[in-house]
């Protein structure tokens, strides 16, 4: 079969047009949302946390978290002057009703909100035998609940204890960083409901996000940095006793 000059002239613009669609890759998840333009994380300002438990209640309302299980929770630390390596930690019912008054006097007392760290090299994703847990291209660790076997490997693998087995669905569950909200331009339910602004959603690929200025001017730390999980929940004012 031979091709004429006329056919080439017709085919070239057609190929040029289709090239755009080839480069565009997979279709968008939500209108005006492109995965590759975002890289999600969270900033937690510990000196601002008042332990009210609003984030825990908001998370439960937004994500139908079953009773007694938590996608986010708040811990209260009491660090004695002479035992800085062995703090006393409590979190009554995940702090869903806040905290009762502190009994222990002296030392250091503070709250630490916790959630999935959305690690870049997440141990939970690495151990999943079926590909039910995965890292999305915008830096969120998610669970495909239709594909999850409920084998619990990921629950054991998470060094931060952020996962649980849903008592009815029998699939692994954890914080999704409110993926259904952030892909529509909203903030997470916990950040929306934090009365002091201690929790802030951060888009590290967005140059106008205040996170960049914050990271440049403040001392921040992630939990268990020695595990090299690439955690993306940044804590400001984090005490060395926090595990």
């Amino acid at each position: 079969m031979s091709i004429t000059r006329r056919q080439i002239l017709i085919l070239l613009p057609a190929a040029a047009l289709s090239w755009k669609y080839l480069l565009a890759g997979a279709p968008e998840l939500a209108p005006n949302y492109t995965q590759s333009e975002h890289w999600w994380g969270m900033l937690i300002d510990i000196p601002k946390c008042i332990g009210c438990g609003n984030c825990v209640r908001a998370c439960k309302a937004e994500n139908n978290v079953p009773d007694g299980y938590f996608r986010t929770w708040v811990e209260r630390y009491h660090v004695d002057d002479f035992h800085i390596e062995t703090p006393t930690v409590d979190s009554p019912d995940g702090a869903i009703d806040g905290f009762p008054g502190s009994k222990e006097q002296g030392g250091k007392n503070f709250f630490v909100p916790k959630l999935c760290n959305h690690c870049v090299d997440s141990p939970c994703t690495q151990v999943c035998p079926v590909g039910a847990t995965f890292d999305s291209k915008d830096g969120v660790v998610l669970i495909d609940e239709k594909y999850c076997l409920g084998c619990r490997y990921c629950i054991q693998a998470c060094p931060y204890g952020c996962r649980f087995l849903h008592p009815e669905k029998k699939t692994a569950e954890k914080c999704t960083l409110c993926y259904h909200r952030i892909t529509k331009g909203f903030t997470t339910a916990c950040a929306e409901n934090c009365p002091t602004g201690a929790r802030q959603l951060a888009d590290l690929k967005n140059p106008s996000d205040p996170i960049h200025e914050y990271l440049k001017t403040h001392s921040v730390q992630v939990l268990k940095p020695h595990l090299a999980t690439g955690a993306k929940v940044y804590y400001s004012g984090l005490d060395g006793s926090v595990r």
Binding site: A58, F110, D144, E192, N193, P195
Partner: protein
């Protein structure tokens, strides 16, 4: 013909392998979801399913569209940074159908204490008190306007 007879067992073995390989291909195409592996070692459709989950909290911008007056009062008060749903609860349903879904007013006796009840672990600069000593069980709303809680001269504004 004799040569072929000798190699017959090899052909049989090859046939067995072929059957196994074909059944593997058949099972693979029928049981692996279509979108599996599109972005990585997972089902790409899961992303769409997670994105499609319903929202419970509408976000403060939705509140401001109708309740502009409250937002203005709040903006000049001490509760400027507190978003509406932090106290009033998840109200996406109210945003979708404002006429029939009427939100309940929160009980200030319980709500305010959650943040302002004294606790050693709270930041020192955060306003906190013992509600029992401060009001003796009286609702906070009696004296304070929650949207702008500082007391005005002459009592509640």
């Amino acid at each position: 013909m004799a040569k072929l007879k000798d190699s017959e067992h090899l052909l049989r073995l090859a046939a067995v392998f072929l059957v196994i390989f074909l059944s593997f291909l058949f099972i693979r195409t029928h049981f692996v979801p279509k979108s599996f592996g599109l972005y990585g070692h997972y089902r790409a459709d899961a992303l769409k399913e997670i994105t499609a989950r319903p929202m419970a909290f509408a976000g403060h911008q939705a509140c401001a569209e109708c309740h502009d007056d409250v937002v203005k009062t709040k903006a000049v008060g001490k509760h400027a940074v507190v978003n509406c749903e932090a106290c009033h609860g998840a109200l996406q349903k109210h945003v979708e159908d404002p006429a029939s879904v009427i939100p309940q007013l929160p009980d200030t006796g319980v709500l305010c204490a959650r943040c302002h009840e004294a606790n050693l672990a709270k930041p020192k600069a955060f306003p906190q008190l013992s509600t029992k000593d401060h009001s003796g069980g009286e609702k906070c709303k009696t004296c304070h306007q929650p949207h702008s809680p500082l007391l005005q001269p002459g009592g509640r504004k």
